[in-house]
């Protein structure tokens, strides 16, 4: 799988290359590139989660056109949850710190942040596997499966929310 950081490094244009040789600017340039890579990665993860969400939307579509209302409310709530996590993923903190911060976020921390976000892809793959199953389920099995997916999303949200704490190593 592509490491977006390497790709961004390879694709540095002339302006960025000049920035890399300006004293005091190099570190800024490198950190900025890792943040951009992390941002691209998170957007990809959110896109993958959206594909999983589409499975649930397909299920809703099937039920709506049959006017089977029994599980619609639960499905609607699950879709809202997907949307919430989508927003959290896309607009998560990039890892900036101030001029003289209490906890510094340097290049190493940013690399850890990228790797942490990368590891979240596994959980999203698991969620996708579950959402793929739900489409073929009967009306009676759906509530249980919804609860299962919801649980996985909750776990994902909990882990993802604490990313900066894990990265900076200040978890108590």
């Amino acid at each position: 799988m592509v490491d977006i950081r390497e790709r961004i490094e390879e694709d540095r244009g002339i302006l960025k290359k000049i920035q890399l040789i300006i004293p005091g600017y190099e570190g800024y340039r490198r950190r900025e590139d890792i943040r951009k890579a992390d941002n691209l990665l998170r957007n990809q993860l959110a896109d993958k989660l959206k594909i999983a969400r589409n499975d649930i939307e397909d299920l809703r579509r099937n039920l709506v056109y049959k006017y089977e209302t029994k599980n619609l409310e639960k499905i609607g709530n699950l879709l809202n949850y997907f949307q919430k996590i989508d927003g959290q993923l896309r607009h998560a903190e990039h890892g900036y710190s101030g001029i003289s911060p209490a906890i510094r976020i340097g290049e190493d921390e940013l690399n850890k942040l990228y790797e942490f976000d990368y590891s979240m892809a596994k959980i999203i793959a698991d969620i996708s596997n579950e959402t793929a199953k739900i489409k073929s389920m009967g009306e009676e099995e759906i509530p249980e499966e919804i609860e299962k997916i919801r649980g996985m999303l909750e776990e994902f949200e909990k882990t993802f929310k604490n990313r900066m704490v894990y990265i900076t190593g200040i978890e108590v």
Partner: protein, 382 residues
């Protein structure tokens, strides 16, 4: 400016021009309120920089073609042939100038409200034809910028959220009616609509994809859906619910009601001749009077002149000014809509469902039914 950089053409574009006339363009927050999109009002020059924020999408058109959707927050340098020397040369030789445009669109979610202008006639098994009105709120966002620009800007020249919402509102009402209609076909009665409001919201949300996708709009959420039952139906529903709770039939329920009224209001018609604390006696008296009323309905017995109560239909003396059963004033008014004869204190027409009495919407000044929560004309809450 060295190379003929002209003055800024729009106050909302941030930044200053460089020596080749290029500039950094951003959509200033101060100009975003209520605007769903903004067309940069100048032809894009070579190396104009576009700043796209988290909540925006920019679409770059060159010679009428979409070249890029700039939907990730960043600063983008744009290319066109409108450079100071090259552009001038091409223009001098060919007489044409390359058209390069940028449209900004807000990615954020907008809120709108909808309300039915005309009632929906729901044919219920128990209550017959019931006139329903629906109100609610929706959240929408631009889902497909190109469709949105083509449909709303290119075709209708809409730019404000208000104009866009105007297009959505009526369709939303139709979708709710459609959902109700299908649920009715599946056997749902009017009394079951209220507990199914969230399901109806989900149906509308799903179906909205087919209706709004072609406009480049996604309905994100439907909330606060409210289906307004005529007062008579609502009252009947409440009565039935009370009866179910008490495990009583209609006669028992009415007797109980009359006893309570008599105990609370000894000077009223129901309590006439009965003192405070004589509730049980009053109950028996009411049962007696109901039995008499039932007998009065039998034609073979000679009767004193009687009539039916204008409100509850009970048989009462012809000269009674108030109904001893429900207390309704025995006067009638005419429905301004269908001309049906109605009790003087009716708030809705039992024939056509029209609200009797009206008030003014504070927003658009339209006449609206007295009990409306939303204006059927502009959708604002009243």
């Amino acid at each position: 400016m060295l190379f003929g950089g002209s003055k800024r053409t729009d106050a909302t574009a941030g930044g200053k021009e460089g020596i080749i006339g290029a500039m950094t363009i951003a959509w200033d927050d101060a100009y975003k309120r209520n605007f769903i999109m903004w067309k940069v009002p100048r032809n894009i020059r070579l190396n104009d920089n576009i700043v796209v924020r988290e909540d925006e999408i920019a679409v770059f058109y060159r010679d009428g073609k979409v070249l890029a959707y700039l939907d990730k927050p960043d600063r983008y340098a744009l290319t066109s042939q409108n450079a100071p020397i090259l552009g001038g040369l091409i223009r001098a030789l060919s007489g044409v100038k390359q058209q390069a445009e940028v449209y900004y669109i807000q990615k954020k979610v907008f809120d709108g409200k909808f309300g039915s202008k005309q009632p929906y006639q729901f044919k219920d098994k128990e209550f017959g034809i019931v006139n329903l009105r629906v109100f609610g709120e929706f959240r929408y966002k631009v889902h497909d910028p190109v469709n949105f620009i083509n449909q709303f800007v290119g075709t209708l020249n809409y730019q404000t959220s208000e104009e866009v919402e105007e297009r959505i509102k009526e369709q939303m009402v139709l979708l709710v009616y459609d959902a109700i209609g299908h649920l009715k076909e599946k056997g749902m009665g009017v009394t079951e609509l209220a507990p199914n409001l969230t399901n109806i919201e989900q149906i509308v949300l799903e179906k909205s994809k087919d209706h709004f996708g072609m406009y480049g709009i996604e309905i994100n959420k439907v909330s606060g859906l409210y289906i307004n039952l005529p007062e008579e139906v609502q009252k009947a529903v409440d009565t039935r619910a009370s009866m179910q709770v008490l495990g009583a039939n209609y006669l028992q329920y009415q007797t109980g009601q009359a006893m309570r009224e008599a105990a609370q209001n000894p000077s009223g018609a129901a309590g006439a001749g009965v003192g405070i604390g004589a509730g049980i006696g009053a109950g028996y008296a009411m049962i007696g009077s109901m039995a008499q009323a039932a007998q009065a309905a039998q034609p073979q017995q000679p009767q004193q002149p009687s009539k039916a109560c204008v409100k509850c239909g009970a048989i009462i003396p012809a000269d009674a000014k108030f109904c001893p059963s429900c207390g309704a004033r025995q006067e009638k008014i005419e429905c301004p809509n269908c001309k049906a004869s109605l009790p003087a204190d009716a708030k809705f027409c039992s024939n056509c469902g029209a609200a009797l009495g009206s008030k003014k919407c504070q927003n658009c000044n339209a006449d609206i039914p007295a009990n409306s929560k939303f204006c059927p004309n502009c959708g604002k809450s009243v």
